[in-house]
Structure formats: structure tokens, C-alpha cells
Assembly symmetry: C2
Homo-oligomer: 120 residues x 2
């Protein structure tokens, strides 16, 4: 087990990428603080630090769209995490499977999973 003290938290936060364990689709990007990472490891369910709400954020707690960790990877510099997960429903609060549903040309290329108004 990697000593969590070796990880580099920047202002207390480390970037975390969530990727679908089966399809490889990148679903979302958010930050974890040490507590969120510990909760994630302990429970096997993704927890983040919500910068907008300034609180621990169990992803899917209100929507039911939980993320179950299959594998947790660290990068060479020990300052980024990559979580391979199983996603319930959609990762994006806009109703898409992935938050990366638009390309730079502005076209929607992602799959819509739910109507946000029904969920939030």
C-alpha cells in the first residue's frame, strides 16, 4: 500500500479522474482531499471534496448515481489519481453519462442518460 503521506496534495487537494472500468470512457474530473480519499479507500465508493460547497461529497448521494471503485491508480509524480469505476446511471449533473459530452466544436457527442430535473 502506498503511504498516503507520500501523495502530494496541493492546498489540501489532489485531482481525481474517474474512468469507466469497462468501456474506458472518462466520466468526470474532480478533487479529493485526504478525508475523501480515505473514505473512498475505506468504503470502495468514490468520495470527493466539493469546492463549491466546501464539504465532503459522496458522489451520487442524492441522485443514486454512485461510483464503485474497481482500481485506484496514482501517477508518476504522486499528485494525480485515476479511479477505474463502475458508474450507476450518469456521472454528469447535466444528465449525460460523461461530463465530457461536448467537443471543442460545440457539438454534443455524449450519451444522455436522465433528465436532471427528475433527479436533483
Amino acid at each position: 500500500m502506498i503511504d498516503l503521506d507520500e501523495l502530494k496534495f496541493d492546498n489540501g487537494l489532489i485531482p481525481a479522474i474517474a474512468q469507466d472500468n469497462e468501456t474506458g470512457e472518462v466520466l468526470m474530473f474532480a478533487y479529493m482531499n485526504r478525508e475523501a480519499l480515505e473514505k473512498t479507500i475505506e468504503t470502495g465508493i468514490m468520495h470527493y471534496w466539493s469546492r463549491s460547497r466546501q464539504k465532503l461529497w459522496k458522489k451520487g448521494e442524492s441522485s443514486g448515481h454512485l461510483q464503485t471503485v474497481k482500481e485506484l491508480l496514482v501517477d508518476c509524480d504522486m499528485d494525480v489519481l485515476l479511479a477505474k469505476i463502475e458508474q450507476e446511471g450518469g456521472a454528469c449533473h447535466k444528465g449525460y453519462r460523461s461530463c465530457f459530452y461536448r467537443n471543442i466544436e460545440g457539438e454534443v457527442v455524449g450519451e444522455k442518460m436522465f433528465n436532471p430535473e427528475d433527479v436533483y
Copy 2:
């Protein structure tokens, strides 16, 4: 085309995830400033902002391990980029295909592509 002024740069930087366009493997994570993003769009070759060197960084300029952009995606909040790329050689300066070559258990799970001493 999305107006680049709509993107949210945090202290001038936006996180960018590079993913293998064919295999879906997440290869690296770094930051772009506006100039790096413009260069990336203009040339089709990934450019980042090196925080350690405080300069524009054409990935692979010294190693030859260039990254060719196949698709550039933006997230729902317009504050993260996902680039689907074609990677020459390995993305990681430690010689691995991906920077995410270790899991949280400390095991090496990634593929070694080259000896860093031969390249840098």
C-alpha cells in the same frame, strides 16, 4: 466552435487529461494555459503549460514522444479538457506508456516503453 473565452481558466490554467484515442488508456494529466490551448488547436499537437519550468511545453519536443490530437472535449462546467490523442512512444517521463502505471497498493501495472536515460 466553442468560444475559448467561455472556458474557465483557474489562475490562468485549465486541467487537461490525455487519453489514448484507440485503447482508451488515460496517459497523462497536465495543465494548459490559453496560449498552450491555442497552439494545440492550431497545430493539432498537444501543448501544455509546464508549472515546474513556467513555460510553454510542447509535449515530446525533446523525447520525440509527440501527442497528436484526434478529438478535444470540454466538460459540463467548461473548466476541464479531455484530449483523445495518438501517442508516440510513452507519455510518462519515467518510461511508461501511461503516467498512471502504479496502483494504490504500490504495484506496477503499466507497460514500460523505454529507458528514460536513453531519451532525456
